[in-house]
Point group: D2
């Protein structure tokens, strides 16, 4: 447990205030509550960030990048569009500097309209996160829209299965390698 | 051969007037010259199309969609960013109606900075094009930046290998299935 | 139409006489009936081919390779195992010489236990076929086990949608590029 | 540090005693030496395991499965064949029970002949490992054959970058979630 766990959520749904956003924020809250005593969770709707154009680095972009770098956990959320993550999300990731997520513990969240598409955005997103240097130590939360009414149960199952591993990856109180146990 | 072969090129490089654009236009010209007697090739720089914002369907978007639908060949070009196609390209593809490319003969063009990334954008792009219903009957033109000085030779090798198959897929003068040969 | 259309089917299900085999053979028959007047379809169960060991090139392997090369259409069929095509199928593909399928018109068939896995084997298989030089001009037939009772309807829909494109790719009676139409 | 760190290496190169094997064993030794005081590393050449046939579960298979389950780290090594992991490796993974690698900390090693293929086996392998429930908390070791003469330097860079994260994932001495730090 740590007092100042910071969870940043980035949402790549072109529609503002989407169910992708509420789903990702619910996961952020569950992680923050599970691992931090005074959790702080902030979320950025990329549909807001790029509202006036797609030109690279501007104020909002730089603030978000700083927030990700100083935070503990990054949640990257996307609906499944055309069988993959959204272009809006990738537009943001494209504008990040090389290896911008080096060492950042990252958890993808994907929401698909159909079961056939459930795994697809995750399949394509993880290599992009790897290219950026992100750590993705636990499985993504991959949901189908029909499961959203039972979101609490899904979140419970996910945290039950993966919160301990996430805590390990965050390495709070990590002992130096080579130190005696 | 057909008199009115139309080739539309869509370029997903966030930088306007990129080498991705000139490469894709060179392929468009080679295809048009090889298969049509009065070739018409038009290209759209998505960096232009989304210059003032990324909001879905507007005039330029609708014109481009109409052009693609009435054309014969679509070239979809992207640099390799973060190990995949660009977010800008996917932003455009995301805004297309379901199955918008049904029956459209499509050829991807990718330009990578390193050999390690040469095949990656194509690997991730083709399933998205398939989801949109596009026909992709021939291999993509996948280039590394270091090869751009020898673009003519690369284009020559590609057309030599694939132009006949592309012509077959265009099915100019297709005989009905079941008709005697 | 052509009198001597040859369809070869290769089945990568480790269980002999599988539903993958019967599904693939049904597609082979539908293609042969749709495009050839005296169709010949042969199928090879890789579970038979590798029954006594997995050592590379032996008699059965060489016969199958010859059959593929002299044939018109290759059907490559696999169940979805662990989210991808089977190792048995890839074992066979690995043993093929480089570019062994150059110019071979190939149609993948995949059968998944769940809808989540429907698209996965195809997603991973097509790049391998591309590496081998295969032409894959039409979408794969991707089925879920629960759809097998309605196989005839699925085959009908597939042939209705894609047989003409397959015929174009086979280019029976192809006119030379540049000849007047 | 732990006294009894067990590293199991599974090698999917159809050629016995391959450079893939020696590379994977070198990584196993580096991990064992870095994290355990009395390291034990064992490796299984799948080309040996399947020497007399590919029929599922037999003595060697069961022993290997037991070894993986009782071990701490699993290294899964493959050359890049036809743009992906080998069929031999997948044949073994296909025969594992569902979720057989649940909780197993796994590190992929891939060796490619060309730079174009460097990332491909890893890209396709990680989703299969995820389907089996494996934990893959650190990046794979992806090598090109031309780098093998400088293997020590590559191993040094990999362990420098990732050994601490691997130790975290192994969670030696993990504190219960919710316990005070």
């Amino acid at each position: 447990m740590t007092a100042n766990l910071n969870v940043t959520t980035v949402v790549g749904n072109p529609k503002r205030l989407s169910r992708t956003l509420t789903t990702a924020e619910a996961l952020a809250a569950a992680i923050a509550a599970g691992l931090g005593t005074e959790p702080r969770a902030e979320s950025v709707d990329l549909a807001e960030l790029y509202l006036t154009g797609l030109e690279p680095p501007h104020g909002g972009f730089e603030r978000l990048l700083g927030q990700i770098r100083s935070g503990d956990v990054l949640i990257v959320a996307t609906p499944v569009y055309k069988g993959s993550y959204t272009g809006l999300l990738k537009l943001f990731l494209d504008q990040l500097p090389p290896k911008a997520l080096e060492g950042t513990v990252t958890v993808p969240v994907t929401v698909a309209a159909s079961r056939e598409h459930r795994l697809l955005a995750d399949l394509h997103l993880r290599p992009v996160l790897a290219e950026l240097g992100a750590k993705t130590p636990v499985p993504s939360l991959t949901l189908v829209e029909g499961e959203l009414p039972e979101l609490d149960a899904r979140l419970g199952a996910w945290t039950e299965a993966h919160l301990a591993d996430l805590a390990d990856a965050l390495a709070f109180g990590r002992r130096p390698i080579g130190a005696s146990a």
